[in-house]
Symmetry: C2
Amino acid sequence: LPDAPVFNRLALIGVGLIGSSVARIAQARGDIAGEVVANARTEDTLARVRELGIAHRTEIDPRAAVAGADCVMLCAPVGAYAALAEAIGPHLAAGCIVTDVGSTKQSVIRDVAPHIPAGVHFIPAHPVAGTEYSGPDSGFTTLFEGRYTLITPLPDADTDAVARVTTLWQRCGAMVECMDPAHHDRSMAIVSHLPHLLAFTICGTADDLEDESRRDVLRYAASGFRDFTRIAASDPVMWRDVFLNNREALLEMLARFTEDAQAMARAVRWGDAAYIEDKVERGRKIRRSLLELNQA
Amino acid sequence: LPDAPVFNRLALIGVGLIGSSVARIAQARGDIAGEVVANARTEDTLARVRELGIAHRTEIDPRAAVAGADCVMLCAPVGAYAALAEAIGPHLAAGCIVTDVGSTKQSVIRDVAPHIPAGVHFIPAHPVAGTEYSGPDSGFTTLFEGRYTLITPLPDADTDAVARVTTLWQRCGAMVECMDPAHHDRSMAIVSHLPHLLAFTICGTADDLEDESRRDVLRYAASGFRDFTRIAASDPVMWRDVFLNNREALLEMLARFTEDAQAMARAVRWGDAAYIEDKVERGRKIRRSLLELNQA
């Protein structure tokens, strides 16, 4: 027999890659939520959720979706959080836990916390997992396995609420860690946001080339370019919101990267073979560490 | 029965990823070379080639390796080509075809052509395929399937020699195209050399962070960073040589990329949501084109 569900009613606000993966896991296991309610911006998405059979109930109005829920998980692009939190705030049940899956945490706290009524717990979280696909069809039950979920509780967070969010993610297969939201945003800037910014940028640089060279980019992509395009295929609205909501940390990492790229350019121009070889060696070392940690 | 071999004796100067893949294909098919002779810089590598059984004969001296060969394929890092060509030049048989697999073509022509004696054909080529692995163990028979091999013949190239190199690569599974060496180098700068430079650079930027953030890079790499590390795991000497031998085109593409990255930074700083969304959309479009062309 499975353990008792962590929550009686889980309301998912957004059913894209992350939300629909949580919904699938909740359906596949008995121990996450007794009932899953799905909310999305469009009826089309909710119709698809019903076809997929991954929620017990769908609601187009987020206020109706959260009514009576003891856990509300925001799974929309982070730019939508302020308006969503404002809308659902007055409809949250006493004792409810509001959590989220956004890739930025300081902005989420800034946008959501003011709308959380007394007696409701707000526990920001971020499952560090993903693919380049989006929408309710893209989710799958093993998405979080062996990946981290980072929880960034506020200083006065209810320890039982943190423990329940932790259990939810552990049952989704994730390893859970708590950290400071500023630390989270800085780490994500280098490990996720900057790589995506570089990938989007090189696609644009390639797309601006004259016709013949552009054709070549598509034909000969196997030689390196295509590794950048996988992550560049990610959801535009989600990424626009991430960049705008982790501005300072992202710009700082981009500035560091640009300095390093200019130093590499200088080494190429002046034929500094030892410098180049050393930089390439460091790339290999990091790759090896990733393979050892099973994160590659 | 297989067709007659394209060559009687194929000498591979270097048996890394590309050379050992060609050797394996030649062993698996009867129609590439009657005999394969492998040369490498170290006895260890040649001992491994013998263990793998992928060549008929091994020679530590490149001059002995090319003696009597009707095809010599340079498969070493491009920075070694000038010295290799100078060494083997006097030992090339009349009518022999010298070809190569280097990722830069103008530098290869500059370094090799002066050492090719009269009566020997020099047909520069570049199979646009690869993995992050290197050495004689890394090769495999399907490496070139569905990938392009680019041939950059000199203006006075012997048409029969071009045809034979073409047949060799077609039998290796590749699609063959001829192009101008300057065009080749420019296309590879954006499609391959710049992505590698960016990947090596971001690994260095991450490696320079304070300890805690560096640890985070390894733990949370699934969120984007690891896509960059695969290509950053490539062979340091090979890539050092590529960068130094395609300097002008690489620096130009890096300059264009840097302008575009700065424009993106400006959009992030000033909250230009439409600009960011447009750039991300272009990344998706390129990814879709790659999937349609089966190059993703």
